[in-house]
Structures are given as C-alpha cells and as structure tokens.
C-alpha cells in the first residue's frame, strides 16, 4: 500500500517469544501450554512473600542463540525490576532487562535483500493471564476478572528492531523470517495463535526523510495477517489525521481484528513511570567466551543459509522455484527434499511436491517418512504414477502413512501398459486427424492437446511423458 502525498510508513517491531524450556525462568515449575489453571505455580512464580528468583540456564542459552542468529553482541548484562501494578503480575513488578540487555545490536537480512537492524534482544519473565467474567468477555464491561498464573514466570525474549521497516509487507516478511530463526534456534515454537510469539508494532508516518513522526504502538496482533492489516490501517489513520490538521498523539492502540481498526487503549495516569532499578535478588550475567562458543557451536543452520543451500542445487532457478524453496525451508521440509534428490529424484519435481502437496498437509507431516516421499517422487518420475496419482498418494501417506506402492495398488493406480496406452493414443489420433497432422508437421504444442485427451480417456492414469513417447514413436 502506498500512502498519499509522499508520506512514508516507518515501522519498528517488538517481538516477544516464549522460550522452549522445560521449566520456568526463575523456578522449577513446568513451562507448559494448556495446563489446568494454577497447577504450575510455586512460591517463586506466585511471588509469595519470601520467595526468590534463580535464573534458568537454558533460558540464557536460548537467549544467546537468538543473539548469535541475529548477529548481536552478547554483552554482560543485569536484570532490572519494572514496577507497575496489574493483577496478572504476582510481584507487581516484572523482572526484565533494561539498559544492559544480554544481546546488543544486530541485524536481520530479509529474502529480498533488505536489512532490518536489531536494537536489542533481552530476557524477561512472562505474566499470568486474566480472563473476564460478565459483560462481553472483553475487558470493558466485565464484572470480575479471573487470573491464572500458570504462565507467570515463563521465560521470554523480547526482540526490538530498529525503525527500519517501510511497508506492511516488509513487516510481515520480517516477522516471518524472525519466526523461522526463532524456530531454527530451538528457542521458540513460533505459535502466534497460542501466544508463544507476540508482536507489537510501532507505527509512524513522515514526509521528510530526515525526521521521524510521532509513533503509536499497536497491540493485539494475533497473526501475520493482522500485523499487515493493522499497519496499513494505522498508517492511513495517521496520514488522514495529519492532513486534516491534527497531530498524532503518542499512545498505545489496540487492534480490533473484526472491526479492522485500531483504537486508543485507556490511558493511565501513571503510565510509563516504571521506576526501573537493578534487581537485587539476582546477580549479573556475563557469559564467558567458552559458554558463548558452546552455544554458537550447537546452533543449527538458519533459514537463510538453508535456503541458499537448497537453491544451490538448482540450476538457474526461476523466481517461482525460489519461492517454492522458501516455502520448503519455512516448513522445515528440506530434509525430505534433499533425501529424495540424493536418491536420484528430480529436484524441481521434489521441491514442487514438497512446496505444494506436503505444504497442504503440513499438520500431519510426521506421518511421512523420507523413504516414502522419495519413492513417490521417483515413481512419478519414472512414469509409474501420473502427476495426479502422485499427489493422491502423498495425500494418503500424510493422513494414514503406509507405503507408496501399497497405496497405489489399493487405489488401482495400475501402470498403464505400454500397449494399452498405445491403443488409446491410436484411437485418439484417429479421432482428431487435423490435430494429428499439425503435430506431425511439427506443432509441438499439440502434444499437450493429446496428453489432455489421453488423460480424459484414462481418467488421469496416464503418465504425460509416456504419452509423448507414444506420440513421437508414431510421428
């Protein structure tokens, strides 16, 4: 979306991710989604009088892994208290990092070649969750609120980008790429819908490049689609406000997915006076070189590197192929593709089946073995299965497992024998003499016509390549 009158969007994103640790940030309670309310709590994460925090080593490992993946500097850091009252905060302060975060600086390169700077990525603890009784179930109009502290104390890393993003589409790509990195490091499962990854967008607009307009923070973005829509809406709102003579007020706004608009959240009088001071119950964090090296060595390849490696197996890849490669990496399917290619499968075919058919059934990808995928692709390649049949087989493998040959047999995907195919071709030649003479005279395009007709006649059971062989043999 382009803004009118030379206005430009400026966006910075703050992404919070829950870390995939077994236990919470400062205590041994289980870090698990979906448990019965208030069953994973203890004196520490409930903030009972007398309790004290002790830092989870794995949370530090994962925070460092994120920093390394984002090319940050891992710095000596401290923890600070962010003081404010809210019922989902058991201590009425949050242990976070303030002016000395563990990861400083860094950048994220997007697939289109643009680079977004990272200001910092730091550790903090999550809050509990409140639900609201009465009224609409949303905050306004609720009689009583109920609080569940299972999530309180879950480790978080907050990643703050620089204000480098210039469109909602770029924001979406940034979020996607970051999500891929967080999953690849093992730090996160990236499930926005479950709240394990949350995004807030800081949006402002400007006309002159050297300045920055007043920004608004947009919260409640529950999907990448919301992220994109909300940024576009907010940018336009600000432009219209400015053009009509108003000024943008610095505030936090709530995105309403149903109404498709942002609105002011209730402004609190004592907002932002968090009285940060160093957390006296924790000591400083200064991971030494050997700890950092250990984390670095254990880091698997990031999505960008994996994309490069897979793309390098293609000769002169088209944009469509590179897009397919992106999908394959994004969904973690390249081990399957590489296995098939290593066994002799055609890479374009393997990538295509993965990016399309496997992507469609990605929820059940655990049912599909590398061997089964490889075999299916090879069968199609050899002409033992038509494209349609191969897609069906993959679908079946995803839903119920089994073997490609077994499924093909059960579904009656018999290999059309050379003779029956030949008969079919000859019947069609007789049926379409004009098309046949044009083909014989060299019009290759008509091969497609005959393939189509053969498919119709055989209900999709023929293999395109075999049809072409039969046509050529009779030319």
């Amino acid at each position: 979306m382009t803004l009118p009158n030379g206005f430009e969007i400026v966006v910075g994103l703050e992404v919070h991710t829950e870390l995939r640790t077994a236990s919470k940030m400062f205590c041994g309670c289980a870090n698990a989604f979906g448990a019965e309310p208030n069953t994973n709590i203890c004196p520490v994460c409930l903030g009972l009088p007398g309790s004290l925090p002790v830092l989870n080593e794995r949370a530090v490992d994962l925070a460092m892994a994120i920093g390394i993946a984002l090319h940050s500097t891992i710095a000596p850091s401290t923890f600070h208290r962010k003081n404010y009252f809210y019922p989902d905060m058991p201590k009425d302060f949050q242990i976070s990092q303030y002016d000395l975060p563990i990861n400083v600086g860094g950048y994220l390169d997007l697939p289109d070649g643009s680079r977004v700077s990272i200001e910092r990525a730091h550790l903090e603890e999550d809050t509990g969750k409140s639900t609201h009784l009465g009224g609409t179930g949303r905050l306004q109009g609720a009689d009583r609120s109920l609080v569940d502290y299972n999530r309180s104390g879950v480790p978080l890393v907050e990643i703050v980008s620089g204000p480098d993003i210039r469109s909602s589409a770029q924001a979406r790509v940034y979020a996607q790429e970051l999500r891929g990195i967080l999953i690849a490091t093992g730090a996160s499962d990236g499930r926005m819908e479950e709240g394990s990854m949350r995004i807030d967008a800081n949006v402002s607009v400007r006309q002159a490049a050297a300045t920055f307009g007043t920004r608004c923070e947009i919260k409640n973005l529950n999907s990448l689609r919301s992220l994109q829509r909300a940024i576009d809406y907010e940018a336009l709102r600000q432009v219209e406000l400015i053009e009509s003579g108003g000024t943008v007020r610095q505030e936090t706004r709530h995105w309403d997915e149903i109404l498709g608009e942002t609105s002011t959240m209730r402004v609190k009088e004592d907002a932002d006076d968090y009285r940060y001071f160093r957390e006296p119950d924790l000591v400083d964090l200064a991971p030494d070189q050997s700890w950092q090296d250990h984390v670095r060595a254990a880091l698997p390849p990031m999505p960008a590197e994996r994309r490069q490696k897979l793309a390098a197996r293609l000769t002169d890849p088209t944009k469509a192929q590179l897009d397919a490669v992106e999908v394959v990496i994004d969904l973690g399917l390249e081990p399957l593709v590489n296995a098939a290619v290593d066994a002799g499968a055609d890479i374009t075919l393997a990538i295509s089946r993965a990016a399309n058919e496997l992507a469609a059934g990605i929820a059940a990808i655990g049912n599909l073995s590398a061997e089964a995928f490889t075999e299916t692709v090879l069968m199609e390649q050899r002409g033992e299965l038509s494209a349609t049949q191969a897609k069906t087989v993959l679908g079946e493998l995803l839903t119920g497992g089994g073997s490609p040959r077994g499924i093909a047999g059960a579904l009656g995907f018999e290999q059309l024998s050379s003779s029956s195919l030949g008969e079919t071709v000859e019947t069609l030649i007789a049926q379409f003499p004009d098309e046949w003479s044009r083909y014989r005279d060299g019009d290759e395009k008509l091969a497609q016509f005959f393939i189509g007709q053969v498919m119709k006649a055989t209900k999709g059971q023929a293999n395109g390549k075999s049809v072409v062989d039969e046509l050529r043999a009779r030319r």
């Binding site: 009088p49 007398g50 004290l52 003081n83 009285r275 001071f277 006296p280 119950d281 924790l282 000591v283």
Partner: protein, 474 residues
C-alpha cells in the same frame, strides 16, 4: 537458664529430654508473654511434635542434630509452613505460608524446637518494635522501655529466658540494636552467608538473618546451623557453612583492632566509656589497638534511608489484596489495591514506601537512589582501606541504652538516627557482632560492636568471646 549448647548436650546424652526442655520454655512463655508481648503466635503443637521426634531419634541412637531439643524463637517475618506469618502487619494477618524458609528447614533438621513467631516492627521497619500492628514488645529488663527493633520480640524471648536462642533479621541494625538494648549477643552475618529464601523481604540487598543468644558460643552454634550456600537464593555465597564454634576461643593475640571515631560520635558518654573499656580489654588480651577515622561512614544514614525504602517500596508492592492476605473490596481492582494497602499498612511502612517510590520515580532516580548506590561503593572502599590497616573495627552498637516507649516516635528522623552505628555494615555487606559490655543508666546493658570484612565471622566470635570473658561472663 541453661545455654543452648548445654541443652543440646543434655538431650543428646539423655540427661534431659526435648520434651522436658520444651516444657520449661513454654512455662517461661506463659509466665510473661502477656506482660511483655513477645510472641505473636506460640506453636505448642508443632513444638511438641518436634520434641517427640528428637526424643525418638535419641532413643534409637540416631543423631538428633546440633541443636537437639533447644527451644528457639523465630521472628515473624520468616515463613514457617502452616503457621501464621504476619510480619506484624494487618495486611498479612492470618496468612499461613505453604512453604518454609530455608533457615527454618535447617533449624528443624538440627533438632531445634521452634516454639513460636516473635513480634517485630511491621515489615521490619523500625528500631523499637513500636511499629508492630499488634502492639509493642516490652524490654524484659525494664518493661517501661523498648527492647529495640525491628527484631524486638526475638531479643525479648532470649532476654526473658523464654528460649535460649532466637533468630532475627538485620537490615540496618535490627539484630544488633535489640541485642544491645537487651543485653544479648547478636550477629549480622556477611551478606549472602545465610539464605534469604523464605525471609519476607524488606531491603533485598541489605537483609540478613542472624542469631540472638546469651553467650557467644551459643550464637556461633546457631549461626553454623543456618549458614551456608542455598541454591534457592541467587545471592547466597557459594561456600558451605564455615567452622565457627571451633574458633570461638582462639583469642585475639596479635590481632589489630581499630576504634572508629565515627562509630562513637554522638553516643551517650556512658556508651563511649564502655567502648573505651572494651578496647582496653582487647589490648589486655594481646590485640594491637589503634584509633582511626572513616569519614565516609557519616553518609551511611542518608544512603541507607534511600536505598532501603526504595527496595522496600518494590518488595511490598505484591501486597495488593489479590492472592493472599487482607483484601478491602472495591468497584475495580485499582481501587481495591488502594483500599487494601491503605487499611493494611501502618504509618511507618507507608512512609517508607512513599519515600522509596519517590526516590525511584522518573526524574529523581539519579539524584537520590542512584547517588545512594554510589555512596555505598565509597563506603565499601573506605572499609576496605581500613581493613588494610586493621583486622577488626570497634565501636558502639547504639547511641544509648534502651529508651522509653514513645521517646522517639514523634519524629521519625530521630528514630532513624539511632541506626547510625549499625547501618554501614549492611551497606557494605560485611559482618558485625554486638556483645554486652558493662551497664549504663539504671543498670541497663550496653552493647559494643565489632565489625569485620566479609566472611570474618570466626574472628568476630573470638574477639567477642574475649570481651565476654572480660565482662565477667566466663
């Protein structure tokens, strides 16, 4: 009354039983608790069960622990599972924690009989126990006077012979000052020596749990039991409990002791004289004595009265009526928070929360809290320089003997000034012991204070023992 060491020895040998020792203690409590208001809660049932356990272990020939059968009082700002823990505040009235402090667990494992929870200034904020929401504690030596604070109840329990041992907490002097006013040995250990897990926080970077006892050896015995690394406390020193009892009688021959001018300036003359005599006693025992000045100590009061309230304002935010304790209901949760905290906190607590919140608030952090943290560094450096010249420092514990009720309550600042000699040690995170030495006005006890660098408890105990002997308590 028997010393704790004697009781444990008797119980272990069979000369006495835990049950008998408990009976003696409970009788003493019954005799004077109403008059003195020492205990907020007496746990007869729990203590009896503990005594039965100890006696059974002895009968079987198993080790019942270093404090077997010793009755012990716990300041009511430490969690003991299932027992009311109030911090002497209405906001926690009736609250029973679902867990115990590490020190409580260690005491129980050592065979101690935890007889009850003692009175304190609300949330440990005060120097006289007059700030308790449930009424003050009286000094057993003169009930018209205060026992000191904030651990007034724990001091009174031992001074009144209700228990030979008690534990308290010391943030700016809250063990040492009541120890001095009640004629007891009181120790503020090195920061991190004793676990704070389960100690309800006042000022996290200053709080430490420590012992009250009538004798130096008893205090050392108790400290050995509770000290040592705790994985539940990130600020806990890494090493295990040090050997202290074995060094109590090491003496001070060749030790360099410095009397610090700033640790007697402003004290009553009788207190200054007592400190002078203590210095002589140490010299007579072979110490090399000197006098020195550490001007940086003068800033301690100001730094403390910004750092401690700042941390406290944050530590006490959790008392919001949501999860436990008092709730005063209201239309919305913010109003509920306010109504609850306004009704639940006493004036001194509110004062310190306000002071601390102000010192941390936007625009004032650098001038107040931030500056105080730097003063703290200066104090640590100053102590380090002093310990380059001497091994131990000597001074008064408090400016005067026990004062009358109401003497300092009209002006909070005057109460704060009584902490001037004890505060520097907390700011530096180092160790100090108050030991009775002589008497003053109306025969009331005077306490003198020995200070040492971090981890110097063994030295402090041996020097304190010398003074104990010199004061006529062999």
């Amino acid at each position: 009354m028997k010393t704790a060491v004697q009781i444990a020895s008797d119980v272990r040998s069979g000369a006495s039983s835990a049950t008998e020792e408990l009976r003696t203690s409970l009788e003493a409590i019954r005799a004077r608790n109403e008059e003195l208001h020492v205990f907020l809660y007496v746990d007869e049932e729990g203590a009896e069960a503990a005594a039965t356990r100890v006696d059974a272990l002895v009968a079987k020939g198993d080790d019942p622990g270093a404090l077997a059968g010793v009755p012990l009082a716990v300041k009511d700002n430490m969690c003991q599972r299932g027992i009311p823990t109030t911090c002497a505040s209405k906001i926690l009235e009736g609250w029973r924690p679902p867990y115990s402090a590490t020190v409580v667990d260690r005491l129980v494992a050592a065979g101690a009989l935890l007889v009850g929870k003692t009175n304190l200034d609300e949330f440990a904020m005060g120097s006289s126990t007059e700030n308790s929401a449930f009424g003050p504690t009286r000094n057993p030596l003169d009930p018209s006077r205060v026992p000191g604070g904030s651990s007034g109840g724990s001091a009174a329990a031992v001074a009144a012979d209700m228990t030979p041992l008690a534990i308290g907490s010391d943030t700016g002097g809250s063990i040492r000052q009541p120890a001095a006013l009640c004629g007891l040995v009181g120790v503020k250990p090195t920061y991190g020596l004793v676990s704070r897990y389960g100690l309800i926080a006042f000022a996290s970077s200053l709080d430490q749990i420590g012992p009250f006892a009538k004798t130096v050896t008893d205090a050392a015995t108790l400290l050995e039991v509770i000290a040592g690394h705790d994985p539940m406390d990130s600020t806990s020193l890494p090493e295990p409990s040090p050997s202290l009892v074995a060094h109590v009688n090491d003496g001070v021959a060749g030790k360099r002791v410095g009397l610090v001018r700033e640790l007697i300036d402003g004290a009553d003359q009788e207190v200054i004289d007592a400190v002078g005599r203590a210095l002589e006693a140490l010299r007579d025992a072979g110490a090399v004595t000197t006098e020195l000045s550490i001007p940086e100590l003068r800033l301690g009061l100001s730094a403390y009265y910004l750092i401690a309230p700042a941390e406290a304002s944050s530590n006490l935010a959790r008392y919001d009526g949501v999860r436990y304790g008092l709730r005063v209901d209201a239309e919305d949760v913010t109003a509920m928070n306010e109504a609850t905290r306004t009704a639940g906190f006493g004036a001194e607590v509110k004062r310190r929360i306000m002071l601390g919140t102000y010192a941390l608030s936007a625009g004032y952090y650098d001038a107040y809290y931030g500056q105080a943290l730097k003063v703290r560094t200066q104090m640590i450096d100053a102590f380090a320089r002093a310990y380059g010249q001497v091994d131990l420092l000597l001074g008064a514990t408090t400016p005067s003997v026990a004062f009358a009720f109401g003497a300092k309550t009209s002006n909070p600042l005057s109460m704060y000034l009584s902490d001037v000699f004890t505060i520097p040690t907390n700011l530096a995170g180092e160790a100090a012991i108050s030991v009775p030495f002589g008497t003053g006005e109306a025969g009331l006890p005077i306490g003198v204070q020995l200070l040492g660098p971090g981890r110097s408890e063994a030295q402090l105990f041996s020097a304190a023992r010398v003074l104990e002997r010199a004061d006529g308590r062999p």
